[in-house]
Subunit: 380 residues, 2 copies
């Protein structure tokens, strides 16, 4: 984490017109920017010849999953069964990867119900989870497609690329109820790498995954899917020959984390928190009605403080408590009278979306629709 | 923040019996501990002769508000109008303090509707908010009771204790539509103070507030309410002569933040996150299915890491991503096989509750009820 934080980008346009009469804090999404982000990632996936299976954890919203499918996504990625249930039910999704070990009796019952309605693949990273799951699946006379989750350097979950992952893959393939159809990694280490080494880090992760896939094939496993995931690394890892699928999530909205790479700026961020100045307790201090209950607490490697105030690159959200965002203002900064509304680009958009029930969709500065964040809070 | 983190408390009992068959991650609340916490704070308030007006941001749950009222609370504190709406509607609350400036047309409309159903008082810390609000209230031919929010050292919101707060109080009292009935502070600076100075910090805040109240009385304002708030400072600030009301919140559940004071330990923590071990990627590393989407990201001055694993004082949740909690295990630690369930006491319980739709109430180790977190996500 040795990277200096970049200068705040200065070019930024607000997406909500003054006087739009929206109660705050709320999440506003610029429809044209969203559509552009969706189509550009689909075009990229197509251009490098990999399947796009976006992670819906960023938006949790059926309408946006439908946009992604319409743009060519082959299916979606979820972490939890509850997210998949919502997406199958409300977005008409028919192909889901659960990129998370499904452990526990209640979850397996729901997984079996889901398998009756959609093609479901589950990522696994342990024999223990494989046995628990495979036993229940086999008892129901079914077979479940699984990907071996491979740790290519993120050191969170996953069996280490190479011997460890190969041994796990062979064991899972021998487990009744399971059929190993591929490998996956979340190359999260690339997200934390300095901008100048992200490409090399991502490519290294991709190559390690492909090598593991190849070794499994040589041992008789029919590895069809070689899946990588991460928005920051999205333009790199999928270019490794042998990768078949990518699972970016954040790209639909983007957030301040993207600023550090210099490729994306505020105008690529489709989602903003609309907030109201509720207090001016000192000349250099404003309080907005978006605190950690709205902005979450995630830090950004791309921007200081707790979010980027659109149009105010020198204002910094220095402190948040649950309902208060404390903004430090440079001398003479305007636009922060009590009652004024500001737009804030979150540091990490996924948890911010998880805190709200709805997204307000805007176009040309005006609200045009409201979409339910239907998979919000689906932690199970 | 110069305080060393205390040794993890070693005495702790789980509240959920093995085999209770709960899907995870979920929030479990031990009913006897909850009731004890509720009644002990009510007894304390009574013993020092101040009114108890608990902040419901901690639980957001009508059943718990009812327990508080039944134990003698005079009403409740909320931050947002939406929380108050839920509590009036679903908990039969008839007296609400909105300890947050209500700014914006939509909110004022809802506030007026609320005033028809309950006694409502609003805290204000600026002339600007007072004028916007008072104008709308007067136009509806109503009068709104307000408290002057006083900054006694937390430097978040509030007019500075003394001249600044006095001048604001007088201006608000002259504002059509408003009636100043008291003063309030959130002595959050005490929560951040080292344990050895929390008492002095809290008492100083209380005295500054009482002095401001007295000065306003001398200038003709009928100050009835002198209100303080904060659970860590709850046993100190309300003892200052002249304080009439206290607004603690966290005490219903408690969390690891309380450990630093040495008065409360894990067995005083009524709420736990029940989580499942989903991966054991290395001998010293377990992954549980509670990440930042469940545990939130708040740090604790009372415990290292992202929460306290009950019964495992030497295991540390060193890293969380949205759905993964990475637990570093000491050599030989048992209870972390894939499929095992663990209980985690959160660092800051309020945002954790805000991430879930329900609380599972347990007694003698077994689930006995499920309560809706009905005011979850009410940020407006």
């Amino acid at each position: 984490m040795a990277t200096a934080i970049a200068t705040p980008p200065r070019i930024a346009h607000r997406i909500v017109a003054a006087g739009a009469d929206l109660d705050t804090p709320c999440l506003v999404v610029d429809a044209p920017t969203l559509r552009r982000n969706v189509s550009e990632m689909a075009a990229f996936a197509s251009s490098v010849g990999v399947a796009l299976r976006p992670h819906i954890k960023t938006h949790k919203t059926p309408q946006i999953a439908r946009l992604q499918l319409a743009a060519g996504a082959v299916g979606i990625t979820c972490a939890k069964v509850g997210e998949a249930e919502v997406m199958v039910e409300r977005a008409g999704v028919t192909d889901v990867l659960l990129a998370y070990p499904t452990v526990g009796e209640a979850k397996v019952r729901r997984l079996l119900a889901l398998m009756a309605r959609a093609r479901v693949t589950v990522a696994l990273d342990s024999r223990e989870a494989g046995e628990l799951l495979g036993h229940a699946i086999a008892a129901a006379d079914r077979t479940l497609d699984v990907l071996v989750e491979v740790n290519t350097g993120h050191d969170r979950a996953g069996a280490r690329a190479g011997d460890e992952a190969i041994a796990l893959g062979l064991d899972l393939a021998r487990t009744r109820g399971l059929r190993v159809v591929g490998v996956m990694t979340h190359e999260g280490q690339a997200n934390a790498a300095p901008p100048e080494t992200i490409e090399a880090t991502a490519l290294e992760a991709g190559r390690a995954l492909v090598a593991t896939a190849e070794a499994l094939r040589q041992r008789g496993i029919d590895v069809q899917t070689v899946s990588v995931g991460s928005t920051p690394a999205a333009t790199f890892t999928p270019t490794v020959p042998g990768v078949t699928e990518m699972r970016p999530g954040t790209y639909v909205f983007n957030d301040t984390s993207a600023f550090r790479y210099g490729r994306l700026g505020p105008d690529d961020c489709a989602l903003r928190v609309l907030a109201t100045v509720v207090s001016r307790p000192a000349p250099d201090r404003a309080v907005i009605d978006a605190g950690s209950k709205t902005l979450a607490l995630d830090k950004s490697l791309g921007h200081p403080g707790h979010g980027y105030v659109v149009g105010h690159p020198d204002a910094e959200i220095v402190r948040v408590s649950e309902e208060h965002g404390v903004v430090l203002l440079p001398p003479g900064e305007e636009g922060f009278r009590v009652g004024d509304q500001v737009e804030v680009i979150p540091n990490h958009v996924c948890p911010v979306v998880n805190l709200q029930d709805q997204l307000v969709i805007v176009q040309d500065g005006q609200p045009i629709d409201t979409w339910d964040v239907a998979a919000r809070g689906k932690v199970r």
